[in-house]
């Protein structure tokens, strides 16, 4: 991948801070003898979640989401005209841009989208598309921009949830919201909502039944809008992980609802205030 030559990269000789990292080289123990994970969670416990809609004032709709150290912000623009020359279509279009901020991960990310980010963009698009009433805005386009401010695992799942709330906040007509959840499969164990150290990495966890599953669910319609898995997994494990993810997605739904209700209420209040000023 070509790097951006216009940007000043760091000094020529420098030491990576990662060589001083504690976990480097040593085997990470995912589950201790008490069936607890490194951060003290049980296998099926998810991290506490913070979600807020209507964050970015310039955007049509936006949302911010936090799951401990995983922080994701999403902004939605449009429906606007399709700028590029494309085939005429009666359906609207969604574009997704998923980006890790340069400072979001342990290793510095490039300012341009890399392969992983492009991959996530497509997965995010596929998760959102079934939920949006595309026929309501023919010939136009809705742009979704997701930026991961800090990555501590399950970034894609967080992005799916965050983007669907941002779309709803932008008053784009949707059939349902989408909630995302991911699980790490390690041996026979399923760890829900993995954090960064627990996430599956193909370069080191290459034994059988090591992998991860990410799932997007439309909770009210009870339809799965996207599912992806990584690693070499037996079907039994994938199925079990999916079932657990489904359960979590359903549990998260009220959080999404509450955040949207709050933002709608705020907007109604604002309307009242501006009405008072004009009349």
């Amino acid at each position: 991948m070509p790097t951006d030559s216009r940007r000043i990269t760091g000094p020529e000789t420098s030491q990576s801070p990662h060589i001083y990292q504690k976990t480097n080289g040593t085997e990470i123990v995912l589950i201790d003898e008490n069936k607890k994970r490194q951060d003290g969670r049980g296998l099926g416990d998810i991290r506490p979640m913070f979600l807020r809609a209507g964050i970015v004032s310039q955007a049509r709709g936006s949302a911010y989401m936090e799951q401990n150290q995983t922080k994701v912000i999403c902004a939605v623009y449009g429906p606007r005209e399709i700028a590029r020359r494309e085939e005429f279509s009666w359906k609207g279009q969604i574009t997704c841009e998923f980006k890790f901020a340069t400072f979001s991960c342990l290793h510095r990310r490039q300012p341009q989208q890399d392969g992983e980010e492009k991959d996530f963009s497509v997965q995010l698009l596929e998760a959102l598309e079934p939920a949006v009433c595309l026929h309501k805005f023919p010939k136009s386009q809705v742009n979704v921009y997701v930026t991961v401010l800090q990555d501590d695992g399950s970034a894609l799942a967080a992005a799916i949830t965050c983007a669907s709330v941002a779309l709803a906040d932008a008053a784009i007509e949707m059939y349902d919201l989408v909630t995302g959840c991911s699980a790490r499969i390690s041996g026979g164990h399923i760890l829900l909502d993995p954090c960064h150290t627990e996430e599956y990495r193909s370069e080191k966890d290459n034994t059988v039944n090591n992998g991860s599953v990410t799932l997007g669910l439309m909770p009210s319609l009870r339809q799965v809008s996207a599912v992806t898995s990584k690693g070499e997994l037996e079907f039994e494990h994938v199925k079990k992980a999916m079932d657990q993810c489904l359960e979590v997605c359903q549990k998260l739904y009220p959080v999404l609802q509450q955040s949207l209700i709050k933002s709608v209420k705020e907007k109604l209040e604002m309307d009242k205030l501006s009405d008072c000023h004009t009349t």
Partner: protein
């Protein structure tokens, strides 16, 4: 207004039966009405005893031009065969994002279509009211002004003054008293308050 019940996309609003119809911001599925917007619920009685269920968001409407809608547009460039414009609002709702429109020579007026001269009908900068003819090709919407009520509503003369219409095809500059040809809209009195002058 009493505390409005707020709903989010995918929320079930009620059963769909003979007495209820689903309005804007909702959709029907498996005999139920669901919300498709994050907004507040409004149900009102319409004629023949039916109840209309709607979800509304007052703050921002996501509107895109649709066929047969009346749009207000600003002319950006004029060529002998067509002129291009930027749509500013659909009906009374201002658009958040500009949409491009195209008005072809044959869609300017209903009669004597072959004698239309574009330069005598529109000039860049004119504000026109037009009807959306079709969604057009990939780039722009097709507009039409083939009605008496459609055409130029506001135009600035060469001297820089806002002109006044004197006939369906002429406008006069109040400063220099010169006349300029335009395809003038017969503005309906009930809409005059929106003209802004």
């Amino acid at each position: 207004m009493a505390a409005p019940s707020i709903c989010v996309p995918g929320q079930r609003l009620g059963r769909l039966d003979d007495n209820t119809t689903s309005g804007n911001g909702t959709y029907e599925r498996n005999g139920f009405i669901y919300s498709s917007l994050a907004g507040y619920l409004e149900s009102k009685d319409i004629d023949d005893g039916k109840k209309l269920v709607e979800v509304r968001t007052d703050t921002k409407k996501n509107i895109v031009p649709s066929v047969d809608a009346i749009v207000t547009a600003r002319i950006t460039n004029v060529t002998p065969r067509f002129c291009k414009c930027i749509m500013l609002s659909v009906g009374k709702t201002p658009l958040n994002e500009p949409f491009r429109g195209m008005l072809r020579k044959e869609d300017v007026r209903a009669t004597e279509k072959d004698k239309v001269e574009m330069y005598k009908c529109f000039r860049p900068g004119d504000i026109i009211v037009a009807r959306v003819l079709s969604l057009g090709d990939a780039h722009s919407y097709l507009l039409s002004t083939t009605e008496n009520e459609l055409g130029v509503v506001m135009a600035v003369s060469e001297a820089g003054a806002t002109m006044v219409p004197i006939s369906w095809c002429k406008m006069k500059c109040p400063k220099t008293m010169s006349e300029e040809p335009r395809k003038v809209a017969k503005v309906q009195p009930q809409f005059l308050q929106y003209s802004g002058t």
